[in-house]
């Protein structure tokens, strides 16, 4: 890889790494696992950088690589399991408008931990990354109908854990 390639790679890492890490955390529920996932993703990106850069699709390639690595890691017996710091006393009892609720993180991560990997990826991509159904379908190499059904099922799983009262308004809107 040439020095020029590495310069553009460094620039990409500088701009995108933090975003990748946040998405990775929402996927894995663990900052260490997220860091591992991002490192693996960026290493693969480095190896493919010359071609990826020419196609100007580095963000998409990185996102796809990370998703594949994440889904793959969940199939391995030694995968890192998400462990909550403490089992919440109540599940599904918080105020839906209280995004700053200290329990929110625990409750949401507990809920996400119960969502199958692909559904979790769909939820994160759609509701955190704000990607369209079509974009998610392309990233996950599946149909738009599949993305919609995975979204619905994923939300249903969240609803089951977080409680129906606060989740009543969650629906397929896109």
């Amino acid at each position: 890889m040439s020095a020029i390639d590495e310069a553009s790679y460094r620039e990409f890492v500088s701009v995108r790494r933090r975003g990748l890490l946040r998405t990775a955390y929402l996927l894995t529920g663990d900052w260490h696992a997220a860091e591992d996932l991002v490192q693996d993703t960026l290493t693969k990106l480095y190896l493919s950088w010359r071609r990826v850069r020419r196609r100007e699709d580095a963000p998409s390639y990185a996102r796809r690589t990370m998703l594949n690595a994440y889904v793959d890691s969940t199939r391995r017996p030694w995968r890192r399991e998400y462990a909550v710091a403490a089992v919440p006393d109540r599940i599904g009892g918080g105020d839906p408008a209280d995004g700053g609720d200290p329990d929110t993180r625990t409750r949401l991560m507990t809920a996400l931990a119960g969502v199958p990997p692909k559904q979790r990826a769909v939820l994160v991509l759609r509701f955190w990354e704000d990607l369209s159904v079509e974009q998610v379908a392309e990233l996950l190499d599946c149909s738009t109908g599949n993305v919609k059904s995975q979204t619905a099922r994923g939300l249903e799983r969240l609803r089951a854990v977080l409680g129906p009262a606060q989740l009543a308004s969650i629906r397929e809107v896109r």
Binding site: L42, Y46, T104, R105
Partner: protein
């Protein structure tokens, strides 16, 4: 909860994000380290099965490296280090490769090989052959793209059906379709020996893309044979489907607009091939380990059959024998175009439209019979057979006549040095 609320909840979960600065150099270092590991693991492999006949099979190394550390020429200009060795600093190949890369699926990579001694020079002419890996499958497959000047006889060109089944050979189309689409002539089909081809031609250039559909485990990988249950069975793995290869073909065809059509012609004067024959003779003697006496004609002189002076189509061949009765037969032949079929009846050998070969030699009886061949530039082919009536005593596959086949690569190099691009009448 609304959509925004869910996003807020996501955001809240991130409040424990480690406050660690981004240090790109660390990711660069990890990438470099992974690259070095890959190179160590993939030292060999990439064999192109060129010919199979009875007891004989010959393979040639097809070794390529992808992300090499770039070297920079003295004038500061890139010297091709940003391209695989199969492309190098050849500007025509670089145009072709840029198009290939732009169209290959994102998860397809050139297999990197580490041993500089195995990195042969790029093939002659507007042709590139590389070994690719899809995803992290641990398997590789051959991929080749060749560009040549457009045919002027498309009205009569019927590669799917003519010359028809080649008697005595099995390397045929399993399926094939041909026709024009929006002014672009196209053909596509699957061949025996698990390979496929797609072609296209416009008014100026023709593009031929070939690829193997049965990848093999890469050295150092954990990939196993086909279903993991049958020892010795051929491996399987992802390669390319036809639509993906057609995308590459179309991208390359579009890129040929940047090229001078004269640069798409290659070939050798048969006289130059004859001129280098003493070197071929010497290489063969070293490989066999004995003096070779010409069966026909003066010692060392090959026979020439020039069928088309303008395009230098024809054959150069020779038969030799050692004092111990080892027979050596060597043929070089050159077709008008890579998309043409040319059969050599004397050895029942054909080079069909894709440039792959079919050999069907004698069974070999109770002795030893090794044969194989390879490409010499886009239009040329070499075929070599070494036989003996004696049954070999050694179990060492590199010993004896089999070892003599090791001369194949050296001979091809000697002949390929005679191939010129552009070729005046190519």
């Amino acid at each position: 909860m609304t959509e925004a609320t869910l996003k807020d909840m996501f955001r809240t979960t991130l409040t424990g994000e480690p406050l660690r600065p981004v240090v790109p150099d660390e990711d660069v270092a990890r990438g470099r380290a992974r690259q070095r590991r890959m190179r160590r693991q993939r030292v060999a492999g990439g064999v192109a099965l060129l010919a199979v006949a009875g007891l004989g099979a010959a393979v040639l190394p097809a070794v390529f490296d992808d992300d090499r550390d770039d070297s920079v020429a003295a004038d500061g200009a890139p010297d091709g280090g940003d391209y695989p060795p199969a492309v190098g600093d050849d500007p025509v190949k670089q145009v072709i490769w840029d198009a290939v890369e732009s169209a290959l699926p994102a998860d397809v990579e050139v297999v990197g090989l580490d041993d500089p001694g195995l990195q042969g020079p790029p093939s002659v002419g507007a042709a590139i052959g590389v070994q690719l890996e899809r995803g992290d499958s641990g398997t590789g497959f051959q991929f080749g793209v060749t560009v040549e000047k457009a045919r002027t006889d498309l009205g009569e060109f019927r590669p799917c059906s003519e010359p028809g089944p080649l008697e005595g050979t099995s390397s045929q189309w399993r399926n094939c379709s041909e026709g024009s689409d929006d002014g672009v002539w196209q053909a596509a089909g699957d061949l025996e020996f698990d390979s496929s081809v797609v072609m296209a031609q416009n008014d100026d250039a023709a593009v031929i893309v070939t690829w193997s559909t049965r990848p093999f485990p890469l050295p150092g990988s954990q990939a196993t044979s086909s279903n993991g249950s049958e020892p010795g069975s051929l491996p399987t793995g992802p390669s390319l489907d036809r639509a993906e290869s057609e995308a590459v073909r179309d991208a390359v065809l579009a890129a040929t607009a940047e090229l001078d059509s004269d640069d798409l012609t290659s070939g050798a004067d048969l006289g130059d091939i004859v001129g280098v024959w003493p070197e071929v003779h010497s290489i063969l003697e070293d490989a066999v380990g004995a003096a070779l006496t010409a069966v026909d004609g003066p010692a060392g002189d090959p026979a020439i059959d020039l069928q088309d002076v303008e395009h230098q189509v024809g054959t150069v061949s020779a038969n030799y024998v050692t004092a111990d009765g080892v027979e050596v037969e060597v043929w070089f032949w050159q077709r008008p175009r890579i998309t043409d079929t040319m059969c050599i009846d004397a050895i029942m050998e054909c080079a069909i439209a894709t440039g792959s070969q079919e050999l069907l030699g004698p069974a070999g009886g109770g002795g030893e019979n090794h044969e194989g061949g390879g490409s010499v530039g886009p239009r040329g082919q070499l075929w070599l057979r070494v036989t003996s009536d004696e049954v070999p005593q050694s179990d060492d596959p590199a010993a004896g006549l089999a070892g003599a086949m090791g001369a194949l690569g050296e001979i091809i190099s000697a002949l390929e040095a005679q191939v010129r691009t552009p070729f005046p009448a190519g």
